[in-house]
Symmetry: C2
Subunit: 136 residues, 2 copies
């Protein structure tokens, strides 16, 4: 598994290192849309000597190399999303949690016809409350 990670990194032109692997292991697999600071705390649990600057450097590098996307969805700080395919976002206003919404589950029409704008990318940003999962 660690092998796969390393391969993924080099495949994207990122020279592997222990620190980068530690960051990658968490941030490329999570669906919790962490802030840089959250990444720092989580990674430090298994890699206590990593520095904040390295986490920021690594996240920026991953974004530059296309392994991660930055999303400006909330006030205050950027979050990172390893899902680089097109998708939408749902923000739970009570918890602040951000959820991915599959591209196909929402249909957006007329974007191409918009007068005056060349739209190269778009997403629907939804807010509300996550419905409690009905017990099974």
């Amino acid at each position: 598994m660690a092998q796969k990670l390393m391969a993924l990194l080099s495949g994207h032109g990122v020279q592997p290192s222990a620190q980068r692997a530690a960051v990658a292991k968490y941030v490329l697999a999570t669906d919790e849309h962490p802030t840089a600071d959250r990444v720092f705390s989580v990674v430090r649990e298994s890699f206590p000597w990593i520095s904040r600057a390295t986490v920021y450097n690594t996240l920026n590098l991953f974004v530059e190399k296309g392994l991660l996307r930055q999303q400006a969805l909330t006030q205050g700080s950027v979050v990172y999303d390893p899902n680089t395919a097109r998708h939408h976002h749902f923000i739970d206003e009570t918890t602040g949690a951000i959820h991915d919404v599959p591209w196909e589950s929402v249909e957006v029409c007329n974007i191409e016809a918009l007068e005056g704008f060349d739209v190269t990318d778009y997403q629907v940003v939804m807010r509300g409350r996550k419905r409690r999962r009905r017990r099974s």
Copy 2:
């Protein structure tokens, strides 16, 4: 006109003052989605002795009273939008300019049917380049 502004403020439960009127005059009429700092600069041109803290206080008050909406559309800082009706946003990636897109000009389907989410609000966030206006 100044009268109308004052009436608008009191109508929303904001006790008027010279500073608040100066901020309102600009920020409630603009379509340029200014940051707090931009509001500060613009207002200071006609009201040089206003302080930064007052601008922040006033903007937060206006948001609280429903005169303004905060939008977290870009990295780094919040922008303010006096258009409190539902609408979408287009971000010009070359200039950073943010444009309102009328609610009716884009159609979004299936939002209500989304499994697991109670969506109370949503908008489409578009990115691209604003098409150069063809000369008339």
